[in-house]
Point group: C2
Chain length 473, copies 2
């Protein structure tokens, strides 16, 4: 656990006074109890103290804050819903935490142009509900949608269980309002479906993890809401067959809205945690494949179901379960959605490795992970977005791990990354780099690419005040 | 016509000698007849003389050339298939034209991971044919696919008739090999479906029009080839009804693989040029809407056809024509594909404005264009990718236009851009900025955005040697 306990305000008085003028007294907070909650996110048990929490209400206030902090060289860490798992919102160099929570308005939904404009502090689930009511759909909410913010989703280029059909956050971002570290407010793109004008600043900011600018508004492209859904669950005796079935589904072109793989190790930990009878959890079954099918007509859904069923049947002799009601779907997905909770029960924590590898490497990757973890005596649970080659590889260890255990886990992480990178993978498919994965950037990127990224960071943020210690600097 | 006639080699002898060492004598060309063809592209009748044509065979040779040119501050204009219509490949500051034509290998097609690696000088149609043979599909070839290069498609973020279903080039680029102006060779991304590691250099280079680096290899994501296609053609008495039908198709979620609108003015010019009976070309019909439907099963295709047909019937009493064979499709699309040729017949030329506007602005945009053109006595043909709000607005004028006519056309262009920009549009949906549209960048972008783009250009290309005079500098 990395932490320091000194929480005295270390900023010049003139800065604090100016912050109060910009945001109003109420939104400049030094109460240490409140600050404590803003010094952590969902990344392990990391906590960092800092000086002042500000909750600006407009892009203009944020511009004022950044100008001030630039002048005084004060670190500013932007914060969304605090759902990040790589430490992107942690104030590692003290200074100011800038919460976007007051930028929570849905500015407008356009039902002809199929787009929505939202402030970046809107909770993802609220966005989804609002556009759903207008007959539209934001199809790639992350699993953290109930509390993550739209701005954080964009900053991390968040993935979704449905990314295999619909892509990641990036594919829906048309335009961003961003406050640059120097205090300029810009729009990066335009609210149109095709745009070949100038460098694509929209995509440069998307996934830049709050180190190039603070996103204050997001324009998302939307799709008409798909009306017909069902889930399928298949159990496999052999992991190899489950992986082969997934490849066959990709080849078919069916395009399910989820293709999740759950390996034996993840099944076991979740089943033990839930301690109840669960569908297709037996001694012989060593892998689950879960599909969501989403189509715009009942006919299409039935056709997709038959095709997907026929493919799965080629690779398993077990029953294939179908769920159409909400209750049935919850039952099929219950094991999958309890893996995380299971891994943290009993005074444990986990390190979530969210590598992405080419689909052709999926099976050898899992076998290699198992071998590495076995060699070091580390418990692992492998599951996730298999069709995209993006697996959560969760290393479980004691919440109060001693140095030896921490070291063992670190060694396993390093070996897993080495294998993934040597086989065409990347160190993050959807969580981003943040603080936690920064040490591995030089494993993935040669010096020339890293230098280019650092130069871009310096260009946007010459004094390095914005979210320092993250991604590349 | 902007041109200069001086075509003497103006480079230091040591530079020419070093180029010969790098590329081999054969690929360093000074023959003025050959050079002439490389001094123009498809942009109006523009031609620019330059000093030397080089045809390197590898990324390493290109790196050597760029290092040399950086040292001697010599402009380098990269060139693909020469199909650009905004002058992106024109050597406006003389120096070297660097043709990518020898980088023409399809490096590999991966049928499990659904991606293809190609050198940037591969002709787009050759790429499409090769992946089709492997059961896969690159779904967004531009209309120039028969001679445009893959690298040029990426550099311009080319659009396609099928972009309304599949997106633009950008959505398929996973990874790029790029030679930076300083001579470094980098890969920008990784060959995986999800990637949240570092700044997205891949998307920064995509659409950067050869001013940030020279693309030498492209990794495209592919999709399983859709197996069932048909075309529909509907004629409308009123343009307004045609536009309303297009909006209704978008609302339905059918997702056709083309939704083209052809306005009366474009119909007339193409019909006169073809001088033969054409489907649904009558006095009463003032707009055509052409759809391509592409689905993975016959059932889906029939369902989509019925739905699309029902929507079109709500907005027109005219017959709706269907084409399933290649020959039938050619007949339905004949008028659409002859508009360009029609506009250049009879010693005429055209300026292609490829604005994109929000779909809600499509109808008022066309009416405004008609009014502007009528006021200035300029012939216009409006047609194109209506569902995306991306219309080709072709202003026809005399190939040997006098100054007054050139001025009139320029005035019309300016007024059209003003209207589009004031209504949320952009100056290019798919052609890019290049040389021709650079003067309009400051209309679309406020100073802060433009400054940021210029700073990015300077960061990548400190001496400004790469494709000077384009996009932003």
């Amino acid at each position: 656990m990395i932490t320091t306990t000194n929480n005295a305000v270390n900023l010049p008085e003139i800065v604090v006074a100016t912050l109060r003028t910009i945001c109003g007294d109420r939104y400049v907070i030094t109460d240490t109890d409140i600050l404590y909650g803003y010094g952590k996110d969902e990344t392990l048990d990391l906590h960092f103290p800092f000086d002042i929490l500000v909750k600006p209400g407009t892009a203009e206030e944020i511009a004022g804050i950044l100008q001030l902090c630039n002048e005084h060289r004060i670190p500013v860490t932007p914060r969304g819903g605090g759902s990040g798992v790589t430490g992107g919102a942690l104030p590692v160099e003290r200074g100011i935490v800038l919460s976007l929570e007051r930028l929570n308005k849905i500015v407008g939904i356009n039902t002809v142009d199929h787009c929505v404009t939202v402030e970046s502090g809107v909770v993802t689930a609220d966005l989804c509900a609002a556009v759903q009511e207008a007959g539209l759909c934001f199809p790639v909410p992350p699993s953290s949608a109930a509390y993550s913010f739209v701005g954080g989703n964009v900053a991390e280029n968040a993935g979704s269980i449905s990314s295999c059909k619909y892509g990641t956050t990036r594919q829906y971002v048309l335009n961003l309002q961003v406050v640059l570290p120097t205090g300029e407010i810009i729009w990066t793109g335009a609210n149109v479906m095709k745009n070949s004008t100038g460098f694509n600043l929209t995509q440069l900011f998307t996934g830049s993890e709050g180190v190039l600018g603070i996103i204050t508004q997001v324009v998302y492209r939307l799709i008409p809401a798909p009306k017909h859904q069902l889930s399928l669950l298949a159990g496999f005796e052999k992991l190899e067959d489950a992986c082969a079935a997934i490849v066959a589904i990709k080849q078919s072109g069916i395009l399910p809205a989820a293709v999740e793989l759950i390996c034996r190790n993840a099944m076991e930990v979740a089943a033990a945690f839930l301690a109840e009878p669960l569908p297709l959890v037996t001694d012989q079954i060593n892998a689950h494949v879960l599909l969501n099918l989403e189509e715009r007509s009942e006919n299409r859904l039935m056709e997709a179901m038959e095709e997907a069923g026929a493919i799965l049947e080629k690779y398993t002799g077990e029953n294939i379960l179908t769920a159409t009601t909400t209750k049935e779907k919850e039952q099929l997905w219950k094991l999958r959605f309890n893996i995380g909770a299971a891994l943290t029960s009993g005074a444990k924590k986990y390190r979530d490795i969210d590598i992405a590898v080419p689909l052709s490497v999926l099976y050898p990757y899992i076998r290699q992970v198992e071998a590495i973890c076995a060699a070091h005596g580390v418990t692992v649970a492998c599951f996730g977005h298999a069709l995209d080659g993006n697996l959560h590889t969760m290393l479980q260890f004691n919440a109060q791990a001693d140095a030896a255990e921490e070291k063992r886990v670190a060694q396993v992480v390093a070996e897993i990354y080495d294998f993934a990178l040597a086989n065409g993978g990347v160190i993050s498919g959807e969580h981003g780099i943040g603080l936690l994965q920064r040490p591995f950037m030089s494993k993935q990127f040669p010096a020339a690419q890293l230098a280019l990224m650092k130069d871009i960071k310096t260009l946007f943020d010459p004094n390095g005040i914005l979210n320092p210690g993250k991604v590349v600097l």
